[in-house]
Amino acid sequence: MSAIIAQWRQVTKRYREVMAVENVSLRLQAGETTALVGHNGAGKTTLIKLLLGLVRPSAGSVSIDGANPAGRRGVRARHSIGFLPENVAFHGAMTGRELMAFYARLKGAAARRNDELLARVGIADAARRRVATYSKGMRQRLGIAQALIGEPRLLLFDEPTSGLDPQSRQDVYETIDRLRAEGATVLVSTHALAEIENRVDRVAIMHRGRLLAAGTLAELREGVRADVRIRAKVKPGTRAKVLAAVAAHTRSVESVERTLTLHVSAEAKMPALHALAQCGEQIEDIDIVMPGLESLYNHLTGAPAPPT
């Protein structure tokens, strides 16, 4: 088992009238990428702020590298953290290069690699321009560049793709993939579920301040037992026969011309496939769709299932 790099233990955070986070226990394992998913206001940003020592828990405890993030050792622990806030902002009068130099000094990192980082996120050309002239996407790229200063072991990205164009989103995901490959620990908060699901090792689902589920995607599927969809294409005129054969195993069926979409519970997946196999040549093609992050999320939060 890999080492725990950050941990929330039964953490509750109340802001006067609002319960932002309620009794959350979660760990980030070294070298793993975790997606923190949930609606706006689900408590994702509060969890990150707690980890950075920006706010203190009302109950429970938070640790980073074994230290309290709000304490003196927490300050030291932040040397190895890179953070990209949601809607990152900079002092507009400074150039990208000047800001990188400033942040490198605060981290005690050499400024030599700054230009390389700016090039890596694709804004080397704008390095000598004032940040006030940057577009939203360029500011976000600068935000990622500053998060990478000093080769941090833990990266916290809060909604890194919100409000970006498709190309920029893709670049952000590629950065995350690269960090993951390099062995960094990454936490990405997002509600772009479909885009993130194949890029993370673990998922933590937050809803109204509570942690609904946490684990690998496979573990979550098991725990939740969301429906599997089996799509079968049948020969003309055999639809009724096939339907009768699998009826015992399916929850519901949608059929469009010759394509049947069977909603099957996780346990009934194999029996349903056996039944289909026995239909022999009446079946032309079969697709199995495992529940994705989005349908798991909707299942857990009680939202209506997305259209197929």
Partner: protein, 274 residues
């Protein structure tokens, strides 16, 4: 080290957005006009022009420097928070006290540059025009130094206002209030109390103590008494007996007015949720 980096960044921003330039020009213009116009009549009575300028510049400082200092500093924390840059800054390995002290030092440096250059221009103009008594230079140097200290104390007060509230507008209101209180109302209120009291309860010692509760009074009393020649021209520029305490005591009071608000601001900022 990080404190210095924060201070340099603050100074850098001050240079970039022309705060340094603007304040230097304002202070140089006012100081030069006071020096050239205000010193003109003294030629006839053989008074030392620089000593006269020290008195008039000190009076100008009391109004102007606290105002500039508060304008610089009221935004320090609450402004960064509203712009969304504070969260990122505090995610770096810096302590909260380093943020307060670093920003404070940077703003004091901006003010010091403007004061030294602005008032220095006035002194240089007088020097070019003719002879100046050697003692007057000491008084002038002390005046510039204490002007920076006065500015530093109002940077500290503005910084405290900035950490106390959640909105920029409120911080600005607090800063204006502090300026009105310390620069305009305090002395007037004291004089009012003296008149109403007719010496029954407010003793001279109490009055001297009350004056020390205001950094602008400590500054004024120090500069009125800095040298013999200065105190002649100072006359009755305000309440209080400048000779009540040694000059070092006024310096100590000013220093306390720098350290105490910063100390409280650090304490408040540490508990602040971002």
């Amino acid at each position: 080290m990080k404190t210095i980096a924060l201070a340099l960044q603050e100074l850098h921003i001050g240079l970039r957005n022309r705060w340094v330039l603007a304040t230097t020009v304002v202070m140089a213009t006012l100081a030069l006009s006071l020096a050239l116009l205000g010193a003109a009549p003294t030629g006839a009575v053989k008074a030392d022009p620089l000593a006269v300028v020290v008195v008039s510049l000190a009076s100008l400082t009391i109004f102007l420097v606290p105002l500039i200092a508060l304008l610089l500093s009221f935004d320090a924390i609450v402004g960064e928070q509203e712009r969304g840059t504070l969260m990122l800054l505090l995610a770096y390995p810096v302590s909260r006290w380093q943020v307060i002290v670093g920003k404070g030092l940077g703003q004091i440096a901006i003010l010091a540059i403007a004061t030294v250059l602005g008032y220095g221009a006035a002194a240089a103009a007088l020097w070019l025009r003719g002879d100046i008594a050697p003692g007057a230079w000491r008084a002038f140097g002390a005046m510039v130094l204490t002007s920076v200290m006065l500015g530093a104390s109002f940077v500290a007060i503005g910084c405290l206002a900035s950490t106390l509230v959640r909105e920029r507008a409120t911080a600005a209101g607090l800063a204006v209030g502090a300026w009105l209180l310390f620069v305009l109302l305090y002395d007037t209120a004291l004089l009012g109390i003296l008149v109403a009291d007719q010496g029954r309860f407010v003793s001279k010692a109490l009055l001297d103590a009350l004056l020390l509760l205001n950094p602008t009074d400590a500054y004024r009393l120090f500069n009125m008494t800095a040298t013999e020649s200065v105190s002649i021209y100072a006359g009755l520029a305000g309440p209080g007996d400048p000779k009540a305490l040694p000059p070092a005591a006024y310096i100590a009071v000013l220093a306390a007015w720098i350290v105490a608000p910063f100390g409280v601001a650090i304490g408040v900022f540490r508990r602040r949720a971002i």
